[in-house]
């Protein structure tokens, strides 16, 4: 099922009652979530992504705008009639009920014609448990399970009514690093199996990138970019999106365009063929860690970009070159370039030289921070 937002806006009164102005949690959302996809709402904490989720499920009422499930306007339909399943950040499993009763809880609410017999309920609960692979835990109480298992129970409970939309609020935040990777694959698999349109919220870009069909990058209630994870990573529309995606993060320098050429300090990074006909101005230059190509000074091919070498970290698979630059956007930043482990670099040398892969090089306006190149 498609989810469509039209001018969706949610404003809250300010917590501090002395301040009259309202807080805009969700600002004029207009976009469509395609049917059967896994969509990640991504943004720093406080950007309104959880509010967006609450608007979809009906726990919050929008100030303006409409929400459509396919062609049904569900804006005024209360949460219980929207046919959504939700997994809360804390899982919200009822602590006094065992797994089976937790999963059956939504079914027991059905009334009238939808009412199920006990056997049907148990059957459905077992099916849901099978999807998340917890059939053998049916008699456990929530506190007798690990975080990952609780998470699965919460998903099973959300799935048992076969919702039209599955919503997950920070689904992995309470899990440890290893379980996180395992569980995110699990979520992807469950979504693939059930084909239910799934929206999840996260502040962890890696999480969003790894499993989403589509990511929505948000900041301060506004959507900055929507797209496939790789597209958003390769073509960030502004400095915020570029900085938010990628680990290690993108390296940002202050630079300028001068006579159709791109400079960081005195180093000419790119020429006319890259800059094309953009007018002279101050810019921010973003370079992905993997966009640096190591050059040696003595090899004759001196790189276009020089900087002070701080450290070399050998990871095995690849090598991190840590360096600083007097032209960093934020002074004192420890920049990171990732190069192949086969490259050799002398850790004792003072300076390091790079060429830049133009595909990993982004130029943003110094004023609006929108992408120029």
């Amino acid at each position: 099922m498609k989810i469509r937002f039209e001018g969706l806006t949610k404003r809250f009164p300010n917590r501090n009652k002395k301040i009259k102005s309202e807080v805009v949690a969700v600002d004029n959302f207009t976009f469509e979530i395609p049917d059967g996809k896994l969509v990640g709402l991504l943004g720093p904490s406080g950007c309104g992504k959880s509010t967006a989720l609450n608007l979809i499920c009906g726990l919050e009422v929008p100030t303006e705008g409409r929400i459509f499930f396919d062609d049904d306007d569900v804006t005024d339909i209360p949460a219980e009639n929207r046919g959504v399943g939700m997994v809360f950040q804390s899982y919200a499993l009822y602590p006094h009920l065992n797994v089976k009763k937790n999963i059956m809880f939504p079914l027991q609410n059905l009334k009238g014609e939808q009412k199920l017999t006990k056997e049907q309920m148990e059957q459905k609960a077992l099916e849901a448990a099978r999807i998340v692979q917890i059939e053998e835990l049916m008699d456990r109480k929530p506190r007798e399970m690990s975080g990952g298992q609780q998470q699965r129970v919460a998903i099973a409970r959300a799935l048992v009514k076969m919702p039209r939309v599955l919503l997950l609020d920070e689904p992995l935040s309470n899990l440890d690093a290893r379980l996180r990777i395992q569980t995110r694959e699990e979520i992807k698999r469950i979504q693939n199996e059930t084909k239910i349109t799934t929206v999840f919220v996260t502040h962890d870009q890696e999480e969003a990138m790894s499993i989403s069909d589509l990511i929505v990058v948000m900041k301060d209630g506004a959507i900055h970019q929507i797209g496939k994870p790789q597209d958003v990573y390769d073509q960030p529309c502004n400095l915020f999106v570029a900085k938010f995606l990628g680990t290690p993060p993108i390296n940002v320098f202050k630079g300028r365009i001068n006579g159709g050429e791109l400079y960081i300090g005195d180093d000419k990074i790119a020429g006319k063929e890259f800059v094309k006909d953009i007018s002279d101005q101050e810019v921010f230059i973003g370079i992905r860690p993997e966009g640096f190509i190591l050059r040696n000074e003595d090899g004759g091919k001196k790189g276009v970009f020089s900087s002070k070498l701080l450290a070399v970290e050998v990871m095995g698979r690849d090598t991190s070159v840590v360096f600083s630059s007097e032209h960093s956007e934020v002074e004192g930043t420890r920049h990171r370039a990732i190069i192949s482990s086969e490259e050799h670099i002398d850790p004792s040398s003072e300076k390091v030289f790079f060429d830049i892969n133009p595909k990993k090089l982004f130029v943003f306006s110094g004023e609006s921070q929108e992408r120029l190149i």
Partner: protein, 306 residues
Amino acid sequence: MSKNKGTSTVAKLRSLKAWLYLLPALLFLGVFMVYPLIDVLIYSFEEGYNSASQTSFGTGIYNYAYVLHDPYFLQAVKNTFIIVIITVPLSTILALLISLGLNSIKKLKEVFQTIFFLPYVTNTLAVGLVFMIMFKKTPYTDGLVNMILAIFKAGPIDFIDGPYWAKMFVMCFYTIWVVLPFKILILTSALASVDDVYYKAARIDGTSRFRMFTNITLPMISPMIFYLVITGFIGAFKAYSDEVAIFGTDLNAAGMNTIVGYVYDMLYGDSGGYPSYAAAAALILFAIVFTITVINLLISKKTSIR
């Protein structure tokens, strides 16, 4: 071997040190709590004990036999049980309803909470006096309650010196009024401590409000409810001052005596001076309260969620 011996000596010294630290507390507890308890037990078996001369005629179960055959004591037991059975469940349910109400209002919540808590910080004897005046029928006035009853063409009833059920009604009414604030305080905080996310989850799943209450709220606050029931039982069994507040010190004459009242009368009342009878009655009360509390704990353990 010698090494083992060494560590055991150290361990012994350590535990000796621990006991030394505990000594002051143990002394106080022993002298002021354990010894009196044992003494009461001894008195209850000493026939005709006289505290002035510290003498008794002999030992036996005569004190118990006397107390259990004393019509005043049996009346007191009956009164106590009626008060317990009526006030404990009723006050807990009422407190729960009021707490639910308090929890669901948004405006003036604190004001209402304060109002409901005020009786707790008010002197019960003073309030008892007010209750007595409200319910009492004198040759000059029928009292406030009877005036209200008159509107509904009922009464007048003498609640203070009249029929037994009328007196018992006032007693229970007053007891509930007195114990309510504390229960409301405990239950409102228990209700507030239930994580809102459970209700959100239940709402999305289309749970009715009634089911939310019975299947989420009640189990979540059940430890607090059990706590209130257990302490409520104990408190109601030990009731005495509330009765005095309304019916005066001669509770036997009013037929409204309680077990603790009986104990007091046996010690200091007009018929007093019988510490052995008092001790026996006190131990019977102890046995009753102990039994009820054990039953309560067993039930709470069986239904407990954690």
